[in-house]
Symmetry: D3
């Protein structure tokens, strides 16, 4: 009897998409205006989903308050009001596309949550652009 619980958090960050080995022209051609050299930014919305059996006594799969705290400590406190390329070490050598942001967040959280709970991460870059990563 597995239930999935979902917690939505947000962070506001600057980023720039580019490949360090490519010329400015090549980067503009591939990433368009997302490659603006002075960065641009987003209000990211992050949904973290955990799937497991509800505890018989509490009726909780996982305490939503604890999940929210865990996301704050490990993700939003480090990403919010930051420049992903310059301030967050996971993106010093990794292009901060929505896909890579979701993978990075999943990898960080996977180590903090009991393995008998399945983990899925959804990242909204805008209301109209979003990605889902269920892990490997």
């Amino acid at each position: 009897m597995k239930v999935t619980i979902c917690r939505k958090e947000h962070f506001n960050a600057a980023h720039r998409l580019y490949h360090p080995d490519w010329s400015l022209e090549k980067n503009q051609q591939v990433f368009g205006k997302c490659s603006n050299v002075n960065y641009h930014g987003h209000n990211y919305e992050l949904v973290v989903k955990l799937t497991g059996e509800p505890d018989a006594q509490t009726g909780y799969v996982y305490d939503m308050k604890k999940l929210s705290d865990l996301i704050h400590e490990n993700i939003t406190n480090r990403f919010d009001h930051k420049n992903l390329n310059l301030d967050v070490e996971e993106f010093f050598h990794l292009n901060p596309t929505a896909e890579n942001i979701a993978i990075v967040i999943w990898n960080i959280l996977r180590n903090k949550i009991d393995k008998n709970l399945d983990l899925k991460v959804i990242v909204y870059e805008t209301e109209r652009n979003f990605v889902e990563y269920p892990g490997r």
Copy 2:
């Protein structure tokens, strides 16, 4: 060629999280402010999903109007503007966490809908806290 149809409904209810065998202190420790003795409340959003083959003549998997009526008769007419702990018998002896609310709704609706349609229930306690239950 299976399609999933989804209908969203809502209900406004009071509830309190607690375990009857635990002290007030233990309940506060486990459930925090959700255990306030005088209750608190939510605008719940409920999404019901049915998966099956569209009918060749109507192009419907299931009539959305009938699904809405079914949810009203069996769920929202009984849950809306109620205290889940005191007014809804399924929660007289079951803690009304979002997880348990989704399981209860799934169990009620499963008996009312043809078994060749898969059923999934999503319950939003707030815009940021929600649960999904695909059934057993």
Copy 3:
């Protein structure tokens, strides 16, 4: 050159509409299902608006972070996860309609904010029912 800044916060609360001098039947007749004796509840959204001249040095009418803290200290810490009728003294003898909730919040905040800033309060009881109070 006046600008209005707006901050949205939320709180989840139980309440019941009724008049203490009226019979149960009269209350049901006037307030319908909102008068359920065991309470029901809502995810309230609160928008607080302040109008004034932006400061020449900061470019702020009022620091949004300070406004958010002020609302937390004076309103949401006292209203969130509470029963408005039983836990919040302003409603011990005042019916907690959306209208009265907005007036109570305006009266509390008016005393905490410099008088050269105009104050307006909006309370969403649901996405479809909301009230606006610009003060006296």
Copy 4:
């Protein structure tokens, strides 16, 4: 390491639900007010999801801008501000239920996107009525 990218677009269209072999009465009985002979309309929201491995160099599963352009060229330029029954040939002999709209869109896009990417289509007829089609 598969990631799903999602792009949301919209179109505004008129439609009418009916079966050409049935009487007006039978159509009204089955489709209710959705069968109004002079049509009604919706702001449709369309979500297209592609699942695959992110490219090692770009960090993209698929360029969101290209996906948006593809949807515009093949779907929204043909469906937006149109009457689905009268202006869009796929529905000349197919009832434009949300289910059939999703299937038609999936069939059109499946031919335009590399087969090693999984495709899923979600169509919102209203905020409260929506369908999901993951393909055959």
Copy 5:
């Protein structure tokens, strides 16, 4: 001590913008794709606002349930799942722009609501196009 109460309702309708004295070309030039001869449609959202003094006994400016019923009887029952140009007499000789829809709704409701309450109407044609009419 005036408070404004607001009620949001919705209706789904087809329409076409055109001037009957103009050629097809002139209509296309002025109204663009909104002038498609076979109509298109929208999920309209309607907000009705009433401003007045809360009643001392109920704490209501106006019963939200009664306001909702009034809007259903006079507006949405007549507009929902209809073609505004062909099915709603107010638009037989009036172009159903969002501006004119708001004015028509205001005129209808003004006759049904006590004159000591101020009336304002907001019509959302889409999430991004909307109009406000406070009356004459």
Copy 6:
């Protein structure tokens, strides 16, 4: 018989709040995490409101399509996917608070729109922080 028409557009931008004459410490103290030296960013939503008499022939106060084009040409094409502090000249010597962004946008648009139409600008920095500027 004045009606207000409203058009919502968006742009994604990076920015940093700071006063050039102040030390890093003073800027951090006043602007908190909004003063991060490497910038952060937002999905800004912009609402432009025009108030005037609907034209007798078209039923339009102003063509929404033309208003959208005007906003694109003068605002979003210049602000979207940019760093407001470094790429947009109006903010080279002006702190890009939401207040100042609204004033700058109003000043730009006021010169492009007929003076017999009233102009108001609303800027959402996040869903919970927004400002309104009705002009001088």
